[in-house]
Assembly symmetry: C2
Homo-oligomer: 95 residues x 2
């Protein structure tokens, strides 16, 4: 099992647009094989900090995700709305 | 529902000690009221980057967590093993 936290820091004024793209990404991604959970979240302290918190069955499923049309279309469009470097970390579960 | 991602960056040579403390924190925390899930994770690319990925029923449950004996004992002991600022973000689920 692989957990992923992908944090995007969106430009002021572009947050609603990023959320629309993010919601579409969630709905398409949840249909993928090997996607255990995939949630779009928003920081309680900073609306412009949005994150995908994800769980995948294995690395192969995650690698396949990166090749999907919804990923290759939507993620660059979200990245274009960011104002700071995106922070993406993949984790294994220890406990 | 509140999601929390708490990322700790542990000093080289102290990772095993941090994981032992973290596992104890997980086991005690999962017994708390309002704790939906609480997982200790480790970056696939950097063993020293460990994270708690959490889900709580509401803010009151999370606030109560900060007052528990296991939190007030174990978290400072983990923080003492870090070499960079800890990054803790609380999120609401958008989708």
């Amino acid at each position: 099992m692989i957990k992923v936290v992908a944090q995007f820091f969106i430009k002021s004024g572009e947050v609603e647009k990023a959320l629309i793209l993010g919601k579409k990404l969630v709905l398409d991604t949840r249909k993928e094989n090997g996607c255990v959970s995939y949630e779009l979240c928003q920081s309680l302290k900073d609306d412009a900090n949005i994150a995908f918190i994800e769980e995948w069955e294995n690395q192969a499923a995650l690698d396949a995700h990166f090749q999907t049309p919804h990923f290759t279309d939507l993620v660059p469009r979200i990245l274009a709305l960011t104002e700071q470097e995106t922070v993406i970390t993949a984790f294994k579960k220890v406990e």
